[in-house]
């Protein structure tokens, strides 16, 4: 029975989504409970998984058998890979998933599309599990797109709102651009290593490391495109801030903990590929680093509570990608592991604040919520400290430390960037907490805010625990085999650097925002997010829509003209000329007859 378990964990959410869609649509409450039930069962099963010990071999189901024999030929199969990497990730996904479900029970109680919402959540859980458990690139790509679809459905949940509909469309298309590169990467890697299965691929690259470097670098960079699209790295990051249009639990689950982490998880899964191509690793590291820096800068000037958290997620993801690029995949996974918990907590906390202030998201319209919402405040500040990597006490410290250590060993400039970003993180998180919870209430809603119902505060508390202890070895060992070691040389320097940056960032922010009623810093460039959105909008309007209208005119008049209308016009005009030859009078005909005779005789006699 045990080896059937993984199939159950994969298919249960799909079954629940299907039943909700076809059967339980009319009864929202039942569908909500159904979906939360399936999340609970998968959560329990993922804990069972942790005790698995060895890697149970799960029979694969041949989905698309394209040729050759089942073993040798090209067979794209749905196979599950249970190793410590996927078990750890499953634990994260199911934990956060279950808690978000519970939180949504409260948050979405009065929503009219509740059944559709929970069906979307279950579909997301199914697709995310698919990515985590996939043992080959093809299956991962299949679930990659399904995750894109479920995020499209969930972001566009309130499809009546134009902004939500546009945000959903933008998310899906940006993901599709990423998938474009990812698919090319998969095909190239398949062509090089003759397989899509990760294990066989790993043995292939272990076998002959000197495989064509140029082609392999291009292939790995293409695969990295997929991660850039999904984990919203720099060129394709524009969709994540807009994705905040979706309900907050969705942001918590998808745009903090799991989906955006899929890109990093995929890179960790194919770490051997990144190692095989040194140039690609370099590119990955730098993209990660720059994303972290730019995102942190942008976060400084955001007023919407969810936008700040979105940019902070972007920045933390940048860290993880940088770590993968620096060939420190374990550090990246470790940070992903801890970040999932406290970032989910931050989002749920902001959800509870928004719920309390009647869907008000602008932090300058809140204030003084410390006394009115103590529980939310305490859990929110724990998560903030963990994000800011308060030494030894928080989980964030251990994982960020690992990444800083890796950066220290590999390349100095990246270490500086990482450090500076850590400072910025401290700065904007302190600003956020101060403006939201301290000082006096600035609006009516904030004044009358009261603590969220227990169904929403319970998940906050449950998430606060791992935010603190997730970094400690006893917890992490159980979930991941090897925690990155701390005591390399120069670790003291790294420790000092992180402490200094923390104090500096928090201090400056504290001094600036203590009791401030409106934002003293007015940096237009950062508030407008470096105008990247506007630039992209311009590019699309010119290169896509402009060229499209040009081409459609070209197509309707020139191609159609040359290939269809011109010959038609030519034959018709020849026809009318020939027709006028029929002059009607006898002598004309006799004359043409004579001409015909002469011509005929001339041709017969005088040329072969």
């Amino acid at each position: 029975m045990m080896e059937q378990l993984p199939w159950l964990i994969l298919l249960l959410p799909l079954v629940s989504a299907a039943t909700i869609l076809f059967v339980a649509r009319r009864v929202p409450n039942i569908s909500a409970l159904l979906s939360t039930g399936s999340a609970l069962v998968t959560f329990v099963m993922s804990i069972l998984f942790l005790g698995f010990g060895d890697d149970a071999v799960v029979p694969a189901y041949p989905w698309l058998w394209l040729g050759g024999t089942l073993e040798k030929g090209l067979v794209l199969e749905i196979g599950l890979q249970i190793d410590q990497l996927s078990r750890g990730m499953m634990f994260v996904v199911t934990t956060v998933g279950f808690l978000v479900h519970v939180f949504s029970l409260g948050y979405m109680r009065t929503d009219d599309g509740k059944a559709r919402y929970f069906a979307g959540l279950s579909l997301f859980m199914f697709s995310m599990t698919g990515i985590v458990l996939a043992n080959n690139f093809a299956m991962m790509f299949v679930f990659w797109e399904l995750v894109g679809l479920s995020s499209y459905l969930l972001i566009g949940h309130w499809f009546q709102k134009d902004s939500a509909a546009d945000a959903a469309k933008k998310a899906f298309i940006t993901n599709r651009v990423g998938d474009f590169g990812f698919l090319i990467g998969i095909l190239l890697v398949w062509a090089i290593s003759q397989t899509v299965n990760f294990d066989r691929m790993e043995t292939f690259f272990a076998g002959n490391p000197e495989v064509g470097s140029g082609l392999l670098a291009f292939a790995v960079i293409c695969v990295f495109c997929g991660a850039v699209g999904k984990s919203a790295q720099l060129p394709l990051h524009v969709w994540l801030p807009d994705a905040m249009e979706g309900p907050t639990p969705v942001s918590a689950l998808i745009h903090a903990a799991t989906m955006v982490a899929a890109g990093v998880y995929m890179l960790a899964r194919v770490a051997f590929l990144v190692e095989a191509s040194e140039l690609a690793a370099h590119v990955i590291a730098w993209v990660g680093g720059i994303t972290a820096l730019v995102a942190a800068l942008m976060a400084l000037q955001q007023d919407d509570i969810k936008r700040v958290l979105a940019y902070s997620t972007l920045s933390q993801l940048g860290y993880m990608v940088m770590a993968v690029g620096l060939l420190a995949a374990e550090a990246a996974m470790f940070h992903l592991f801890t970040h999932a918990f406290f970032k989910a907590l931050l989002f749920l906390g902001s959800g509870s604040v928004i719920y309390a202030c009647h869907h008000e998201q602008d932090i300058w319209k809140m204030g003084g919520l410390r006394k009115k919402m103590p529980l939310t405040f305490i859990t929110f500040s724990i998560a903030t400290l963990s994000l800011m990597a308060l030494p030894w006490v928080t989980a964030g410290f251990y994982s960020k430390e690992a990444i800083l250590a890796a950066a220290w060993h590999e390349s100095a400039p990246l270490f500086v960037i990482a450090g500076f970003t850590a400072m910025l993180t401290a700065f904007y998180m302190t600003r956020l907490v101060l403006v939201t919870f301290f000082g006096k209430a600035r609006t009516e809603h904030a004044a009358h805010a009261k603590e969220s119902p227990p169904v929403m505060t319970l998940p906050l508390i449950l998430l606060a625990i791992p935010s603190v202890i997730a970094g400690l070895p006893f917890f992490y060992e159980r979930v991941q085999a090897t925690a990155p070691e701390h005591h390399g040389e120069g670790s003291m320097l790294v420790l000092a650097a992180s402490v200094i940056t923390l104090i500096a960032g928090a201090g400056i922010s504290f001094w600036l925002y203590k009791g401030a009623s409106e934002d003293p810093l007015r940096i237009k460039l950062l508030a407008r997010k470096f105008y990247i959105d506007e630039i992209y909008q311009g590019i699309i309007r010119v290169f896509q829509d402009g060229v499209a209208t040009l081409l459609s005119i070209f197509d309707r008049y020139i191609i159609d003209g040359l290939i269809a209308q011109l010959p038609a016009y030519a034959t018709a005009s020849i026809g009318s000329i020939l027709r006028r030859l029929q002059v009607g009078n006898l002598q004309g005909y006799a004359f043409l007859f004579a001409l015909g005779v002469i011509l005929l005789i001339w041709i017969t006699l005088f040329n072969t």
Binding site: Q582, V583, L586, Q587, F591
Partner: protein, 105 residues
């Protein structure tokens, strides 16, 4: 001494006169006459051929047989042709060929 060539040239000239007559003249009756001219040119060359195609001393009479056929057919053609021309004349009082162009292109 007249050879086959002379006859052929004569019949060729006769044929082309008839042909040009059909092209240039405007009156239907005249055109009809020129057509008969062309047929008689053919008769001339036929007789010449049968005269000069000696097979064992005797002229080959096939050509002459054909001449008779041509003459009878020409006669029949004239009969029918004139009937039509008369009918045309009765209904439209014209013999001018160029006036008949009610149907064109």
């Amino acid at each position: 001494m007249l050879t086959l060539g002379h006859y052929l040239i004569a019949s060729g000239l006769l044929f082309s006169v008839g042909f040009i007559g059909v092209l240039l003249r405007r009156n239907v009756i005249i055109i009809f006459m020129c057509l008969e001219l062309m047929l008689s040119a053919a008769n001339l060359s036929l007789v010449a051929f049968s005269r000069y195609n000696q097979t064992a001393g005797l002229p080959d009479y096939n050509g002459d047989v054909l001449v008779f056929f041509i003459i009878t057919v020409a006669a029949a053609e004239v009969a029918v042709g004139l009937a039509i021309i008369v009918a045309l004349f009765r209904s439209r009082q014209i013999t001018d060929v160029t006036a008949m162009n009610s149907m064109k292109n």
